[in-house]
Symmetry: C2
Subunit: 213 residues, 2 copies
DNA sequence: TAGATTGTTAATCGATTAACAATC
DNA sequence: TAGATTGTTAATCGATTAACAATC
């Protein structure tokens, strides 16, 4: 297989840190700062400065000796690397409390995403309006995803339904799934999956705690 | 410093996988299965069987050669290791869409957690009922956390308020924080913090996608 | 110039995997 | 017994860190 000269295989763990750097840069921009350094970023994030420089070096040279990184420039570069220098339309499946909160969430648009449709299989919910979107039946899923050219979806259904929904999403052409149901789903190679399981994080922390009561 | 004989320092990354194992065991229990193997667990989770055996070996010997692991027994053991063989009372700060969804979420109780109070600083929200709980003003935070002996809290406020809320929680005695605001917060040593940032996960995935539109 | 900070190399550290004796 | 699977060791693999020449 031919490999492009500039597309080395960058560790996934490095990719996973770029959004964190971007988040920190957002804040620095809000503070009206112009320059930062790997040392300052590291301090704020609890990461070593060497790691930040090493991570960024996979993609190019974004800093200047002596002065550090121009915040706006580095921000824009990372946005391009992560492909969030545009707006990704997204589908939400599940219009329960969580799905509703996702549709309402104001934090997607400023960071490159927009919920453009929401689905549910409960007749009581279909037709309901959420933040200007109409809850659609699952029978509309494939056609809507095609019509909106949706590549990214979020699953907010009960765990029993999550695998079936994932399968439908992939069949409809979705290539990246953020799954809120506490179950590992199986998808074909090449389809991206990430998980959000608050209880897993809580359990991780309680390992270190001694119960009071 | 004196170190107990049986409390070796177990890598944090191993602790982070235990909740995933627990989640898989929950499913196997629901399927009425009695025994499993490191191979089967690994298949389901996309993890090598060797890693699962290695991880578990940090805590004891839970399996039997030839037959694998008794599911109910392993489940109970991991629950004890993670200290979720009890119910942790939790506070939610922020009664917006997300906070509301967290208070309503049915997935906490079966896995060791229960939201017992919710706070907001918006007079329009204070007094509101959410799933049987009354939204309380921030001025009540310290006394309520003490009264309920709360050690775990979730932050669901806008990012501008997150650091201040975290500081108040720690002062009130909270030892573990799950932060939904997209900002790295600073807390004293010994206080656990975990982050949930859906956008970071989405951006991680879009790195691997080629935009269609 | 002197001070600061990058990008990169090499060394260190830690995590994952392969392999297998033990044994159910 | 034969087959399966554990727990563990040693080897491999990969990620992090320390250090520094280059240079703004």
């Amino acid at each position: 297989m031919i490999r492009m000269g500039n597309s080395k295989n960058i560790p996934d763990i490095v990719i996973g840190r770029l959004p964190i750097y971007l988040r920190a840069l957002n804040l620095l921009i809000a503070e009206q700062r112009e320059y930062t350094s790997s040392h300052e970023l590291g301090e704020r994030l609890g990461i070593s400065s060497a790691q930040i420089r090493k991570d960024l070096s996979h993609f190019g040279e974004f800093g200047k000796q002596g002065t550090g990184y121009n915040i706006a420039y580095l921000h824009e570069q990372i946005r391009q690397i992560l492909h969030v220098d545009r707006e990704w339309p997204m589908a939400v499946v599940g219009a329960g409390d969580l799905g509703r909160a996702l549709v309402h969430y104001r934090g997607f648009v400023p960071r490159g995403f927009r919920v453009v449709c929401v689905f549910d299989n409960d007749p009581a919910r279909i037709g309901e309006q959420i933040a200007g979107l109409t809850v659609q039946p699952m029978s509309e899923l494939a056609s809507q995803i095609a019509a909106h050219r949706i590549q990214v979806a979020m699953i907010a259904v009960p765990l029993e339904a999550a695998q079936e929904v994932a399968t439908q999403l992939v069949e409809a052409g979705v290539e990246a799934i953020l799954n809120y149901a506490p179950i590992t789903i199986s998808v074909p190679d090449g389809v991206q999956v990430q998980y959000i399981d608050p209880v897993a994080h809580l359990q991780h922390m309680t390992y270190y705690l001694t119960p009071k009561s």
